[in-house]
């Protein structure tokens, strides 16, 4: 061992004690209680990940990356315990709401649990258990027909960080997400800014603009697979007649990415338009009228009043489009390019599929799932923070 596990737990406990002790004192509560809880939180948080791992990241033969990941895991475990503790003892008592009067509740202690039983059972079996098992698998080497599943500590993760193919899929995923968001939202805003106004046949127009939401990612991929087909596709028919060029849509890496992006923009356009229309209808007209009296031009009114007023909707759409590009896009990629050419359209989820099921590197794919989960947490945290902010502004 590079460091004694007991020492690690001790340091973490001391840090936790200091943190909660000071926080308690500032909030006017007994610092000793805070220090005691903090020591429990810090020590417990360390053990949360390190006990299952048996402190393997601090063994003598490990690399710097291992130690770094180990420290990161300890920090994450501590935060997982200390932040809720702080919330429960310090933040919550301060913003004590009026106690909710439970009016009209039914009696019986067993009934609520019976009502919740089906939901909780399914969530535990098919979400929580696989979730925890993904973490366990990511520290092993698991192969389809191999009996032995040796423990390899953080090797799958350090392997990923040094795998150029993996890092390329990270980049591919970000590029495709960004392209889908920018092109998709601009187009949707443009169309919605005309479609939201009261006009004859507005209902019919709206329906004809938004139905593509219900098309599946796989079908969108199949239709665009035919449209961009090099032999019979009409994309090349048009480019040939207009510019005299035939494009190799599925053998050129950047063109393949473009084809996937176009198919996805088409498929998600309906959803984006639907929400922009709803958002635009909620922008109060008097603001625009006031600006118009002050001499603002139409374009100015649009960019300086309408677009900022739409920012909550835009934010919501950015999040849903990121989720779409990260996960749902699988169907489009699988039917259109199968991740190719030479991995150009292999996003993170497609790589998990290829590594886990194509190559049988199950634990390597599990480690990728853990990293993808961390990204999901990041997106969700962002979502919660802005929701909270909007609520305070709105009220």
């Amino acid at each position: 061992m590079l460091v004694d596990p007991i020492l690690v737990v001790g340091i973490a406990a001391a840090l936790g004690a200091a943190f909660l002790g000071v926080t308690f004192q500032r909030a006017g509560r007994t610092p000793a209680l805070g220090a005691a809880l903090g020591a429990l939180g810090g020590g417990g948080g360390t053990l949360m990940f390190m006990l299952p791992l048996n402190f393997c990241t601090f063994e003598l033969e490990r690399t710097v990356e291992d130690v770094f990941l180990g420290v990161l895991l300890i920090a994450a475990g501590m935060a997982l315990l200390l932040v809720p503790l702080r919330w429960w003892f310090v933040v919550r008592p301060q913003r004590r709401h009026t106690p909710q009067v439970a009016q009209g509740t039914f009696k019986g202690w067993l009934m609520p649990w019976l009502l919740l039983l089906p939901t909780l059972t399914v969530l535990v079996l098919f979400l929580y258990y696989p979730f925890l098992d993904t973490f366990r698998l990511s520290t092993l080497i698991v192969q389809p027909r191999a009996r032995r599943t040796p423990f390899v500590c953080m090797n799958n993760f350090t392997g990923l960080l040094g795998d150029p193919a993996y890092l390329r899929s990270v980049l591919t995923t970000f590029v495709i997400s960004a392209a889908i968001i920018v092109i998709g939202l601009l187009l949707a805003l443009l169309i919605a800014s005309v479609a939201y106004q009261p006009i004859r046949g507005a209902g019919l127009y709206r329906t004809l603009l938004v139905w593509s939401y219900a098309i599946s990612p796989a079908v969108a991929g199949l239709i665009f697979f035919i449209i961009f087909n090099p032999i019979a596709g009409i994309a090349n028919y048009f480019t040939n007649n207009l510019f005299g060029v035939q494009l190799a849509w599925f053998t050129d890496p950047s063109l393949a990415v473009l084809a996937v992006v176009l198919a996805s923009v088409w498929k998600s356009l309906g959803f984006n338009i639907l929400f922009y229309i709803a958002g635009l209808q909620n922008v109060p007209n008097d603001l625009r009228e006031a600006a118009s009296i002050d001499g603002a031009s139409t374009v100015q009114r649009f960019w300086f009043i309408t677009v900022p007023m739409l920012s909550p909707i835009t934010f919501f759409l950015v999040i849903t489009n990121i989720t779409y590009a990260f996960f749902d896009l699988f169907g489009t990629i699988d039917t259109m390019t199968a991740g190719g050419p030479v991995g150009a359209t292999t996003t993170l989820i497609y790589r998990i599929y290829q590594d886990g099921f194509g190559q049988g590197r199950i634990s390597y794919a599990a480690a990728q799932s853990v990293i993808l989960f961390l990204m999901v947490i990041g997106i969700t945290a962002l979502q919660f923070r802005t929701t909270a902010r909007r609520v305070t502004y709105g009220a």
Partner: protein
């Protein structure tokens, strides 16, 4: 005309009709109509093209004919008889209906428990349900597949397509929000009449909750209908396969890509979710509005 100048022209016409006089020489809001018709056409084009191809032979496709061909019956025969599109469609219908109904029932029961009962640890349990929003199936796919196929032995079964998806944090949250906005006099009156919680749910809550039920149902139906990754992994027996994955089998024969049947399959697979979505558009939007309005 470049799209930018067209756009400026259109936005110019907006406020004029809202709070000033109209232009004289064109029909009312001619530019906006023109723009919207063009937008509808561009959005509709890929599907229109798919419909046209689905009536054509390969020869028509190679000749770039943009009119309906007369091979629709032949193509239909290929997808239904030579291939198993009918089976795939039935499997998808069954799965989508089962998940939608199951999810609605489980979410209604959970919502009832969270709003109309007091029990210790309620907030903890609610948090436990809500946190699953951060666990999309896609990131659990490795462990979930091992559990469902190896431990439960559910490979290539309907229950593998249905059971993992019938509990829903979204649905529970949706009904909790909806029930919380219903005046408590209703449940007090029901209790005075001697009704228990389930009778109250069945006789009072459900009849006034159809809009919320519709909202959840349309979101879930379209979601399950379009599911792809999970059935592709867990179903290996083609007689249990769903249509989204089964379409792959229409892609080619030994003589190359069969364009007409493939596009016909894609069109048939898209008709039910598009109809459901178009009919329940309003409910769909309100579902998101309730979900977001914390």
């Amino acid at each position: 005309m470049s799209s930018e100048s067209l756009y400026k022209d259109l936005t110019l016409s907006v406020p004029e009709t809202t709070f000033s006089t109209n232009r004289r020489w064109l029909p009312k809001r001619f530019g906006a109509h023109l723009f919207l018709i063009a937008a509808c056409f561009i959005i509709g084009f890929p599907l229109l093209y798919a419909v046209i191809v689905s009536t054509q032979t390969n020869a028509d496709v190679f000749a770039y004919r943009f009119t309906f061909g007369n091979a629709l019956a032949d193509n239909l025969n290929v997808v239904m008889n030579t291939r198993n599109l009918g089976t795939y469609m039935w499997n998808t219908v069954f799965t989508a209906v089962a998940v939608t109904v199951g999810k609605t029932i489980l979410s209604l029961l959970a919502g009832l428990a969270f709003v109309y009962f007091k029990f210790p640890g309620k907030w903890l349990v609610f948090g436990f349900v809500l946190i699953t929003l951060m666990m999309p199936t896609e990131i659990l796919i490795i462990a979930l597949l091992r559990f469902v196929v190896i431990d439960l032995g559910w490979g290539s079964t309907y229950q593998a397509l249905i059971v993992p998806f019938i509990a829903s944090a979204t649905g529970t949250f949706l009904f909790r929000q909806h029930f919380a906005n219903i005046p408590s006099e209703l449940s007090e009156a029901a209790q005075l009449d001697g009704a228990n919680a389930l009778q109250f749910l069945w006789r009072v809550l459900i009849p006034i909750s159809w809009n919320t039920i519709g909202a959840l149902a349309v979101i879930q139906f379209v979601y399950v209908w379009n599911m792809y990754l999970w059935p592709r992994l867990v179903i290996t027996d083609s007689s249990r396969q769903v249509v989204q994955v089964g379409l792959q089998s229409l892609i080619s024969t030994d003589t190359g890509i069969t364009y007409g049947p493939l596009m016909l399959g894609a069109v048939i697979a898209s008709i039910p979710p598009v109809i459901v979505f178009v009919l329940l558009q309003k409910q769909f939007m309100s579902g998101f509005a309730i979900g977001r309005d914390k």
